[in-house]
Amino acid sequence: MAYAIETGGLRKSFGGQEAVRGVDLAVRSGELFALLGPNGAGKTTTIRMLTTLLKPDGGTARVCGHDVVKEAGAVRARISVTGQYAALDDALTGRQNLALFAGLYGYSRGEARKIADELLILFGLSEAGGRTVGTYSGGMRRRLDLAAGLLPRPEVMFLDEPTTGLDPQSRHDLWDTVRGLKRQGTTVLLTTQDLEEADQLADRIGFIAGGRLIAVGTPAELKARYGGKTLTIRLAEGTDADGVSRLLDERFGLECRREEEGRIVKASVRNAETAHAAVGALLGDGTVVEDFALDDPRLEDVYFALNAAGAKEAAV
């Protein structure tokens, strides 16, 4: 299996503060990999090293088989970056921006103009194409930034928090574009704080905290490993919720939360068998259960579980 991105013991400090503390990452060719983690976890620093913007203090990083320090030129020829801060020239018009980037990638002046117009249409910016980017809204800037990122037909695309601050419609449009990239065989490394985004898009997720990669897996694997299913039980009016909680705790070791003044009892369960047994025990006990539901684990549960683990580790 060829890796599009491969790092070993990657490190970076800023003034004594270790931002990235030994990251080992292996992203397969054609894979959509999401780096998930809280603010300051080291996601952006990792991306900046992989895109040749920062020199690592230690460890190795290869993109498409090329070392990011020694063969920065070869790496740059194969990647493209779209950042959380749209990297555009505010004093140029949208069309001038795209034509400039196209020219820098080696397209002739005529081709560059044609490509700029194509991309403006594709991203719904043809009318704004003649205005300077300084006058654009946040969403328009992000769209133009993404269009610029798609210009070179990259082998590996880096998307650094691409949907931060976007409205829901723009967010879904961007997801469509990212899925389109994947269909074309582009490797995508995405950083995000948005759990739904990682869940929707990623083949695999790497969870990063305190400068370390602390868990890697498919969304389903991570949920199975770190998150539990949620059992929700709706009780008839006047039921003794305390008694129900006590029963579930004593017989099944479940920690219950109560909502709606005790009408609803919720608990995390390991699997469906436990949930069945718990509901069966309540019914056998004569409790009136109006309704019950078993929900799949959410990435959110994984996120909080891992965040807590990361915080514990950082404190050591």
Binding site: T52, L54, R76, S80, L88, A91, L100, F101, L104, T177
Partner: protein
């Protein structure tokens, strides 16, 4: 919006652009900047004319008996006084420009990186020429008649632009190491203005005490003014040519490599 899901399939560019082509693209970018902010461009070019008028009318009578007589002496100096400070703006623009996000994008792209600075500095020639044309036009209107004629005027103008390019590397370097464009503008007060005024731009050095003459004559700006005057009036000697061109080349030879080194270092800091 569904169109966005089907991305364009495009032939990759045939080949990497060469160094010259990329530098030309960055020059074009700067010219677009000027075009998109035409008012600023015009104000900057016309500004120095005001300086010429002030000095000509304020000092003209006292220094040479009349405005017209003083302008013969003053104009070559004023030309430098007008054009050389424009290089401070080059440095300040570079400073704010390379702090922008777009330079992050440039740095992840596979082209010859020094072009991003070189093109910007090169395009500033347009601003220098505009300032020069405005001052020269006003000078002619005030009665400036160089003895070197059209050829002398063209040579003097060409030298002025050459010298400004050389000095622009000083501020390009400061623009690269300074965190804020204000620092670049501020540094000009310390570096450029003492040099500009402690020179033979406004007055003949013959009236100064000998020690001051020595200082003023060693000032590269004085060398530049001497050559500009010589070219305008068609009497530049070999010594003036060597000193005037040499002063520019030394400045560029020191500060251009410093600038490039600072720019490349800044990339991966």
């Amino acid at each position: 919006m569904n169109a966005r899901a089907s991305l364009p399939v495009r032939e990759a560019a045939a080949r990497r652009p060469g160094r010259l082509a990329v530098t030309a693209l960055f020059m074009r970018r700067s010219l677009h900047h000027l075009g998109n902010n035409a008012y600023g461009f015009v104000f900057e070019a016309v500004g120095p004319v005001v300086m010429l008028l002030i000095f000509a009318f304020l000092f003209g009578g006292a220094m040479a008996g009349s405005v017209k007589a003083y302008v013969q002496f003053l104009l070559p100096g004023i030309l430098l006084l007008a054009v050389v400070p424009m290089t401070v703006t080059s440095g300040a623009t570079l400073c704010s420009d390379i702090a922008q996000g777009v330079y992050q994008r440039f740095r992840t792209m596979p082209f010859w990186q020094p072009a991003a600075v070189l093109g910007l500095i090169a395009a500033d020639g347009v601003r220098y020429l505009a300032g020069l044309a405005a001052v020269l036009g006003a000078g002619f209107a005030l009665g400036f008649r160089p003895e070197g004629g059209a050829a002398g005027t063209v040579l003097a103008a060409a030298y002025t632009v050459f010298f400004a390019y050389c000095v622009s590397w000083v501020f390009a370097w400061i623009g690269n190491i300074a965190k804020r464009p204000e620092t670049v503008s501020g540094s000009s007060m310390m570096i450029l203005y003492p040099l500009l005024f402690a020179s033979s731009v406004l007055v003949d050095t013959a009236t100064m005490p000998r020690w001051l003459q020595a200082v003023v004559n060693a000032n590269p700006i004085s060398m530049a003014v001497a050559l500009t005057r010589g070219l305008f009036h068609g009497n530049a000697g070999a010594g003036e040519l060597a000193a005037g061109i040499g002063a520019g080349l030394v400045i560029a030879a020191v500060f251009m490599p410093l600038t490039m080194r600072a720019y490349v270092r800044r990339q991966t800091a």
